[in-house]
Symmetry: C2
Subunit: 287 residues, 2 copies
């Protein structure tokens, strides 16, 4: 499954680089996409497509690709000097650190366009699935409640904390689970809860990692929530409370998986991914 | 036709603002879309849909909307401090001047997503037209040769001038003409030349305006090509030569219109738009 994701991403990036593409923009896009990401969201999307029968694998690959390209776009823009001003990401220089802010803005823009381009090019076999697939993904990314809106809450004088967390992390997980189902011709609504629970679990894991890990552990600057005065589950619940919330959300995610032909391997995958979520020394101290 | 464009844009912005959208992001997006733009590209898109029979007006409106939202996104990002650092646009404060760089980056991102969302929501009646409509528009906007690539050429040490001009201005005009035809179920290829010629004419007009007008005339900073050392047709051909090139391109655009039921009113529209292109006192001195 990991091979399917990497191959589909490579195809999308190669198509963008073809012809007379500006070389530095091509390099910036390639750096943004191939920098050791865990591919959590596209693997989730494909796992659900498979659990639902995966009768149009090209469309499933395209949905997984689109979800990951949009995630990469959000990371490139979040790292910009006007946001986190992060010089590193996954232990490597961030896109703006390597190519400058103008090309980082444009690489993010290009990645967003590439995501929708990938969906359109794969829709030949099932064109009637495309409109719903597109709106499911635009809902997870755009306004009023997608990841762009989630990031924008950080510029509000009085952010709605629940809307902020749901939009910043949950929305793209929901898009990943629901779009996986749509690509296989299944009803997406029973898959919303899995996306919501996993998104919430990742938000807690992210807040934990930012609070307890060092830049050397994580490959990017930590302590950012406190530094920028952002809402954090660790501030709200304490370290132990946040860790318990994480365990609870993973359990609820596993429970939420609806009846389908591939339910058992999917439960196993969610449990396995979840063990990677908690910062290791925190998991040890809680055990 | 202008009413159709404004109504469709208002619907798209209202949908983005609905629910729990962050208020400042909503305000930034609204400011970006409703700031006195001439709507040249969406009107061209609709004119060609009408010339081809306009049998799915909702899809034509969505294509026009998408083209204009993507144009607005490119203006918001081009004005950012890391690019032109323009404090004004059409005589009003630019988005980043009013809302700051973070919300300007995010408003541009949101506008790109809104464009594809509008297309998906309007595809109910003609879903088989959607894939080609999408790839026509992604080609005009993304990599390797759309407006994002066009802007990126300005960060290259040795820009390919032809690729730069074609991508920066021509690509979105080609997307406008070809997508207009696609929404009406017509073959888009005969409409490529009209987009290319008009795009080239706008590029010359833009270079002329930047060279000869003042900020008070144009509502945004001028003299930017010279200040940033960017390729300009005025530098290459001189003022008189650039003006002659403009007249020639408009003539070729009118000639390129393929046989169709609405050819004559479309020729009239192109001629009329063209008279608005040349800076007025230059047109007078050439007459």
């Amino acid at each position: 499954m990991a091979n399917r994701v990497e191959t589909a991403l490579e195809d999308a990036v190669a198509r963008a680089e073809s012809g007379a593409a500006p070389p530095l923009l091509s390099a910036a896009v390639r750096h943004a996409v191939f920098s050791g990401g865990a591919r959590v969201r596209p693997l989730l999307c494909l796992a659900i497509a498979q659990a639902c029968g995966d009768d149009d694998p090209a469309l499933a690959d395209a949905a997984a690709t689109a979800i990951e390209l949009l995630h990469c776009a959000s990371l490139v823009h979040d790292d910009l000097p006007c946001f986190d001003n992060a010089a590193t990401r996954r232990g490597r220089p961030s896109v703006h650190a390597l190519y400058g802010a103008p090309l980082a803005v444009l690489a993010g823009d290009a990645l967003i366009v590439m995501a929708f381009d990938s969906l359109a090019r794969a829709a030949g076999a099932s064109p009637t699935r495309l409109p719903r697939l597109l709106t499911t993904i635009t809902t997870g990314v755009g306004m009023p409640g997608g990841i762009v809106a989630g990031q924008a809450w950080e510029s509000e004088p009085s952010p709605l904390v629940e809307a902020y967390h749901g939009a910043k992390t949950g929305a793209l997980f929901v898009a990943a689970t629901m779009s996986g189902a749509i690509t296989a011709g299944a009803d997406p609504h029973p898959w919303r809860a899995l996306g919501e629970k996993l998104g919430a679990a990742y938000q807690v894991a992210d807040d934990l990692a930012d609070a307890v890990l060092t830049e050397a552990d994580l490959g990017k600057p930590t302590g950012q929530d406190q530094a920028h005065g952002r809402p954090s589950l660790v501030t709200e619940l304490g370290l132990e409370g946040a860790f318990q919330r994480l365990q609870c959300l993973v359990g609820e995610a596993v429970e939420s998986i609806p009846p389908c032909q591939g339910a058992e391997p999917l439960r196993e995958l969610v449990r396995m991914q979840a063990t990677r979520l908690a910062p290791k020394h925190l998991a040890r101290s809680a055990a």
